[in-house]
Symmetry: none
Subunit: 244 residues, 4 copies
DNA sequence: TATGAATGAGTCTTCATTCAT
DNA sequence: CATGAATGAAGACTCATTCAT
């Protein structure tokens, strides 16, 4: 199994494999999936034959790129899970997914299980990614930071959409701000919000939920925004932070 | 004016042009921009030459599809403006944009003014579309139903993202629910932090979020940019840095 | 037979046929044989269908153009034969052939009997053209103005070559001067010339032959060049001139 | 430098490049510039992709053929310059140019500087060819074997014309004889009239010939241009005008 | 009958994949 | 094993010719 990932015994072969993978990742991210394989090879400083020695097809190369990306994200997700509060971990993770996808094709499409995607090499990574995503999601939901009722497919679709949103906005900073707004849609909203959001013309107070339990927060006209619904939740959050 | 859309005098030619346009719209929507032109022709029940008689290139055909789509949306938007309350009109319009775009390439990319897009045929439609979008947006903002500070580019990017989101979710109903959640991100919230970054109609440069929790940062007119949303996050980040 | 040439009974049909023929002649002359048939039709102000009504194929149209050209040349050649001295008639004719051919494909190729040329419609015109050319040639040869031993194929090839020469020289006036030089190669040369022309370094006196009998002309260091070898030939030429 | 011609390191690639070049040269020569690229590939015994590997477009292939031809001619011309007497060198060179051009498109058109020809690859070869041609021409002119007043453009146009002439004559031997006759037009003649128009190395604007007999007209530095070569022709023309 | 729309075979060109060096 | 040359299927586009209006 490591052989498949490493590309064989010889050191130079392993190095070449890594070069190709990295070049492919960059090329797909920059120019999209239509980038010619020859360009990738040139970028990696190898011949096309070498690319084919390591990856049996362009599709396979793309999948390897995705697998690597997924593995990186999995590691990052696990780190976040260990170190951050659930809600922060979840949203930080999602933001990272969005920011690192670029034009390489939405990683999360893999999670949404589009059957047109052959995933022989990917299955393992995808499953693990889905597990991490699910764990992060459930933790955040238990913490009240994410709406209950959403499943991993929903989150994946959200990530896909936010990736496209980021790519569509020329100004990356502005794009990130938009993504944050969109991701806020995953946060629980008070019943007031729900009702208000489809009514018109009145400027109602809608706050994000408590970061620990998701409960509605009393609006404050000014000053530092509330993060927790009360002392209990603030305590609980603090305990968790110290725990890692 | 209709001549441009109708494609000439003869009834059969007009019919064929319409068939081609419709087939192209469906084909692009289903299979993306890489669908072979021959497939479109077959789908329309005509020869490839007929496609080329009506549209001088594949690019032109794609633009015509977009133009038609835009024109439909423009008409719909104007109707909504006349008949509905501003906020409902705005969100209804956006939802329609998202629902009708599918894989045919992000209609709204046209609005985000990507210069790599040649728009000879489109310029008029795009401008009109942008006008309608802007009018709907401003009306909704005046009515307090949409965050101030957002511009048409932001809304277009949102639409692009939501289109991708919808396409990513296999279950269309679930996808639409997600889109609604995301679009709610455009509504105003009373979170003081957030309000700071989008105040009174001026589209400020939105800084990156807090490095620790991702929350929006209040813009500072001068001086060193903010890294954290507050002391808590700064403290936490410091602790983490010391930890490794 | 006139029906074939005239294009039918109706006056407008005849007019259309003429328009197409003229447009085709101009288009072939300007842009060569690769000019699209649609361009010719547009130029003629008719539809492509109308072109096909009068000429069953592009090839046939080209042949009709050639036939018309040939017929014009035939008439001109006969006029010249009647009115001018043989040598003048011959060279004037040749120059006209060259000047009127342009890029429409060398008319004289038809005479050189290239078998790749289908000539169903042309046979008659080509044969008549060849007859006129031959008559002019023989008369000029009898008059001593053209080298004996040359046949109509040679002359036709000369015309083809001079047409290309004229087209190659951007400056048309300079091109015509070159053509005259080349055509002079058809005139008889004294034995001195023949010997001299392949020897090197000495500037020998080579004059054109007598216009009536082709005999060598005594070189004159200055003044008006000699046209005739003597009084006899000058008389003979004068008589012929008065005869028409 | 040879790399450009050889096409790389590998022996088989070099061989293939040569095969393609040679096949293209033959195909263009035989069937003209419209020969399909697939035919060339088949003729060379390779796939179309191989042709495109060595030459990025059909145009480029054609230019490479021309460049090779030009380079061969350049070498030959330099050899002739070194070994033969000037006039023989010049005419021998010209004959070689004519004999080797066939239908592959007039090599010398390149010299006549038609701006519609893109010459990226060719520029160097064309310039060198023009230099050789000019050197040969001037040497022959100094030796008195070629009319003064002719420039390289004239000679190139002559070559183009003679190439067409040779192609037009089915019997190649007869064609070559014709070409020799035509080329003799470049030799000096003592006809005083002609001398006037091409004197001492300056390439004067050559006016149209006499309207009556076509003879060359002595250039006039100023004033109304000449129409007739003399009083006789003017008289004759007048008589004709009165006749109709 | 005139028109010009429809047709589809044929051309150039690209690029994923295979294979000789 | 690495290289990059060779391959050929596939796609965009043109235009001579046919056919419906």
């Amino acid at each position: 199994m490591t052989a498949v990932i490493d590309g064989g015994d010889r050191a130079d072969a392993r190095r070449n494999r890594a070069k190709v993978l990295s070049a492919a990742g960059a090329a797909f991210a920059e120019h999209g999936l239509d980038v010619p394989l020859g360009d990738i090879a040139r970028r990696a400083g190898v011949g096309t034959g070498t690319v084919y020695r390591h990856f049996p097809s362009k599709q396979a190369l793309l999948e390897a790129v995705h697998a690597q990306h997924l593995n990186d994200l999995i590691a990052s997700g696990e780190r976040r899970m260990a170190r951050s509060a659930p809600t922060e971990a979840f949203f930080g993770f999602l933001l990272e997914v969005v920011e690192t996808s670029q034009r390489r094709g939405p990683v999360c499409d893999l999670v949404t299980a589009d059957p047109s995607w052959p995933r022989p090499v990917l299955t393992a990574a995808v499953q693990r990614f889905r597990q991490v995503l699910t764990a992060l999601l459930h933790a955040a939901q238990r913490a009240g930071g994410v709406r209950p009722g959403l499943g991993p497919e929903d989150v994946a679709a959200f990530a896909v959409g936010c990736t496209a949103m980021l790519a569509a906005r020329r100004d990356r900073q502005a794009g990130l701000a938009l993504v944050r707004l969109a991701l806020d849609g995953l946060r629980p909203s008070t019943s007031v919000t729900e009702q208000a959001s489809f009514r018109d013309g009145v400027h109602r107070t809608i706050g994000a939920g408590c970061e620990e339990c998701g409960a509605a927060l009393a609006p404050r006209p000014t000053g530092r925004p509330l993060r927790y619904c009360g002392a209990t939740c603030r305590q609980r959050a603090r305990r968790r932070r110290l725990a890692d």
